[in-house]
């Protein structure tokens, strides 16, 4: 019995929980550090126009996520909204980094790239000497970027949380489509926006439920190129 030798320099292909869904809709994929992410579905211009008119959703699951936990976090004096309960601050390092204060002793850092090192660097800047438990949560959460003027209406169909009570630069853990979800309102963007995070294995279910319950709202899938242009 012989086995095939591993190809020199080979690396695993990483896929988001929505990969098959994207593939079925003939998304054009791009490679981000080994991650296969949808760059576009129907064309960037069309996706941007559809989002500005109604609502668009992008699969951001591949972007790095780092959790910080520990009582020392509660004692840190952080600048901006992340210093307050459920507050969200935006830092900049190779793109925007969202720092979400979930509870006094629990924080989630979210990158706009697939490299976890930018978050580790940010963690060092925020709390250089604090004893915190840091964990790479990238494969734990599926992440979606919702954009467009109809996203509040859309969320109303799947969650009891009144999105109008969720201020900019704040976040909330709540029930959405029957499962626990984290909703984040980043700082003001040219179009209304929301980040949504659910457990990785529930990603496909939540994504499909959003489309199912909002057929009349004109929700469209958008690729990373349209998402970047809009945000």
């Amino acid at each position: 019995m012989s086995s095939a030798p591993a190809a020199a320099g080979s690396r695993p292909v990483l896929r988001t929980p929505l990969h098959h869904w994207h593939n079925k809709r003939q998304a054009r994929f791009t490679d981000l550090d080994g991650w296969q992410v949808p760059a576009s579905f129907t064309g960037v211009d069309e996706e941007v126009a559809g989002t500005r008119h109604a609502a668009g959703i992008a699969d951001l699951s591949a972007f790095a996520k780092l959790s910080l936990r520990g009582p020392a976090l509660a004692g840190l004096k952080l600048e901006g909204k992340a210093g307050q309960p459920r507050g969200v601050s935006t830092y900049w390092s190779d793109g925007p980094i969202l720092a979400c204060r979930l509870t006094p002793d629990r924080m989630l850092l979210l990158a706009s790239t697939t490299t976890i090192s930018v978050l580790e660097k940010q963690r060092q800047e925020l709390a250089p000497s604090a004893e915190l438990i840091a964990g790479d949560e990238t494969p734990a959460y599926a992440g979606f970027g919702l954009l467009g003027p109809r996203i509040e209406e859309l969320v109303r169909h799947v969650s009891p949380l009144d999105l109008s009570t969720l201020a900019e630069e704040s976040c909330a853990e709540t029930r959405l489509a029957g499962v626990q979800a984290l909703l984040i309102r980043p700082a003001k963007l040219p179009v209304p926006s929301l980040r949504l995070y659910v457990s990785w294995d529930l990603g496909e279910y939540v994504w499909e439920t959003l489309f199912e319950r909002s057929r009349h709202l004109g929700l469209i899938p958008i690729g990373l190129e349209a998402w970047k242009r809009l945000s």
Partner: protein, 78 residues
């Protein structure tokens, strides 16, 4: 049953986000529970399952679901 609880971390949320964790009863010297399962105010444990995943201590009137106070359950930190 429909009412709202104000989680000290997450704010005002509908009760469906929480799981009931039972009444906190006083126990007499003889070991019997007192003030248990009576109409009126009672102190209960509630778990914020779909939110911050912490235990709360809630004082609620079971006759009309009026919530009188919500705080962290002992051992949970604010």
């Amino acid at each position: 049953m429909s009412f709202q609880l104000t989680c000290p971390n997450c704010g005002l949320r509908e009760v469906g986000e929480f799981r009931y964790g039972g009444e906190i009863v006083e126990v007499s010297l003889g070991g019997a529970a007192v003030n248990s399962n009576l109409p009126g105010k009672q102190v209960e444990r509630w778990y914020h399952l779909f939110g911050c995943r912490r235990w709360l201590k809630v004082e609620r009137d079971v006759r009309n679901n009026q919530v009188h106070s919500v705080s962290w359950l002992e051992g949970e930190t604010g």
